[in-house]
């Protein structure tokens, strides 16, 4: 392959893109939609995963005791739970520690801190179980223990998240598959139309001694360019939409009251991976569409 081959092919590809402007816009629009939807679902799935892990890492059962419950009784329940083997961690939060946590969470809201003292916070045990499936039984047993005021159980929230994650993955997979197929088809049609409008030129090229790759490569580049442009547009849209959409996403899942959930979409490394993935997927999809068109319409 000589040194002029690639730049000449790229120039020709650029010409094909410009001279089929209407088809270019249609292809780029559909591909942009595909990549944006894909990125959105990947982001949402990653967000849901991250939230599930966050919730699982938090206390799954919190047992609040009556304010007058003797610490030694609470510690006995704690020891008992630890010996039982169905928990990973059991943490005792005294009334003083509960006050400290409260003060830490509300230090910027002085009105909430007025006349607050340790006496109004109940002592508690924060429990992380080994398996989510063991938690309902464990929660039930704790409710009947002496001195227990209330058992707060996060399983439902975790389950909701798991359901959301599965739904997002399934729905996303179906939608992405359909859009990917449409993208490949529209690229195939666009490149096919380009080939069709250039039949005469291709014939002359062949007759004056062009190799098959000299003729094919610009069309592959054309597809790759569509993919690259679409993935870039989608990335810009995605980066712009993320900070706006993320709070709605959490509100939809009902986790606004759970404090700060570490969300991967606020991680620059994750965002860079999404953008890089889109660009790669874009070029791949564009080339796949072109290759299909070449195979179908450019036989020699």
């Amino acid at each position: 392959m000589n040194s002029n081959f690639l730049p000449e092919s790229l120039l020709l590809a650029g010409q094909y893109v410009r001279r089929n402007l209407f088809l270019t816009v249609a292809s780029v629009a559909v591909m942009t939609l595909t990549f944006f939807v894909t990125a959105t679902f990947v982001g949402a799935a990653a967000g849901a995963d991250s939230a599930v892990k966050f919730l699982e890492s938090k206390a799954q059962i919190t047992v609040f005791f009556k304010n007058d419950a003797p610490p030694e009784k609470i510690m006995a329940i704690k020891d008992n739970l630890e010996a039982g083997g169905s928990t990973i961690e059991v943490k005792y939060i005294s009334q003083e520690e509960a006050l400290k946590i409260y003060l830490g969470q509300h230090q910027d809201e002085p009105t909430l801190l007025e006349s607050v003292n340790a006496g109004i916070f109940p002592p508690s045990l924060e429990i992380r179980g080994r398996r989510l499936s063991d938690l309902p039984q464990l929660a039930k047993e704790l409710e009947n223990k002496e001195g227990v005021e209330e058992v707060v159980f996060f399983k439902e929230v975790v389950d909701t998240f798991l359901r959301w994650t599965q739904t997002i993955r399934l729905f996303g997979l179906i939608l992405i598959s359909i859009l990917t197929l449409i993208s490949v088809l529209i690229t195939l049609i666009t490149i096919g139309m380009t080939i069709y409008t250039r039949v005469e030129e291709i014939e002359v090229m062949r007759l004056v001694g062009a190799t098959a790759w000299y003729i094919r490569l610009p069309f592959l580049f054309q597809g790759a360019l569509y993919g690259l442009i679409s993935a870039s547009l989608s990335s810009v849209l995605f980066l712009a939409a993320t900070p706006v959409v993320t709070p709605y996403f959490f509100r939809l899942m009902g986790v606004t009251s759970l404090g700060t959930v570490p969300f991967p979409l606020s991680d620059p490394v994750f965002l860079a991976e999404i953008v890089a993935g889109q660009l790669f997927f874009g070029v791949f999809l564009g080339i796949a569409g072109s290759a299909a068109a070449i195979r179908k319409y450019l036989r020699f």
Partner: protein, 245 residues
């Protein structure tokens, strides 16, 4: 792929090296049953100027198409220098076509490309550097007297000018053989003379020239070899012939 010296055994090596083109018992039958060429034997040596003459439908264009493998012979063998063309693998065809410049009957100029770009195409496809293209294209356009129309599009040119662009495109990459299919078909007598003289000059520089035509005046004006075709068969082959009816 076979070469000339190992097929048939009738051609010795020295003869093989002196031959540019050879057709051996070539038939071309189209799928609808039309027999376009039948039992064609033809030998053309380097530097020759050959007229292929005959009425429309005699098989002149088919013979050219077989040589550049735009069509495939139904039977027989065709050699270009040392290569057997009929069985040439697809990836070797570009190399064959780079050695044979063809001026097509319908010119095959690209309407969206300028004169310069049409001629440059022959060099672009073989990967010549841009600087080289910028040097060679004007030179060949000067030769065909079209230097003043480099930026024109084909539909802004007369028939004769389009014909000369086609000649420039066929010639710019210095092929070993130049084939012109009815080069004077659509041009006035003055332009016919001009194109004929141009082809003669190209031949004098050493390029083998094959002209398919049924223009009596063109054939008779040059006194070159004349191969006459009728209904797909070679009926006459005169080394310094005239167009005979």
């Amino acid at each position: 792929m076979s070469n000339r010296s190992d097929t048939g055994g009738t051609t010795d090596l020295s003869e093989a090296q002196n031959t540019m083109i050879e057709f051996r018992g070539v038939d071309k039958e189209y799928p609808d049953g039309t027999l376009a060429l039948s039992g064609v034997d033809l030998l053309i040596e380097p530097g020759e100027f050959v007229f292929l003459v005959g009425p429309s439908g005699a098989g002149k264009t088919t013979l050219i198409k077989l040589l550049i493998r735009e069509e495939v012979a139904s039977r027989g063998e065709i050699f270009f220098r040392d290569q057997e063309v009929t069985g040439l693998p697809a990836n070797q065809l570009p190399h064959l076509r780079r050695d044979i410049g063809v001026v097509f009957q319908d010119y095959k100029l690209l309407p969206t490309r300028t004169v310069f770009e049409n001629v440059a195409l022959s060099l672009e496809v073989v990967g010549r550097q841009r600087a080289e293209i910028n040097e060679l294209v004007p030179a060949v356009l000067k030769l065909v007297d079209l230097l003043g129309k480099v930026g024109h599009f084909p539909d802004q040119l007369s028939g004769g000018e389009q014909q000369r662009v086609a000649i420039a495109r066929a010639l710019v990459h210095e092929p070993k053989v130049l084939i012109a299919d009815e080069p004077t078909g659509d041009v006035d007598p003055a332009m016919t003379w001009s194109i004929t003289q141009l082809l003669k000059r190209i031949n004098e520089w050493g390029t083998t020239v094959i002209v398919a035509t049924h223009d009596v005046d063109v054939v008779n004006s040059l006194n070159k070899r004349v191969v006459s075709l009728e209904r797909g068969r070679i009926v006459r082959d005169n080394p310094q012939g005239q167009y005979e009816f």
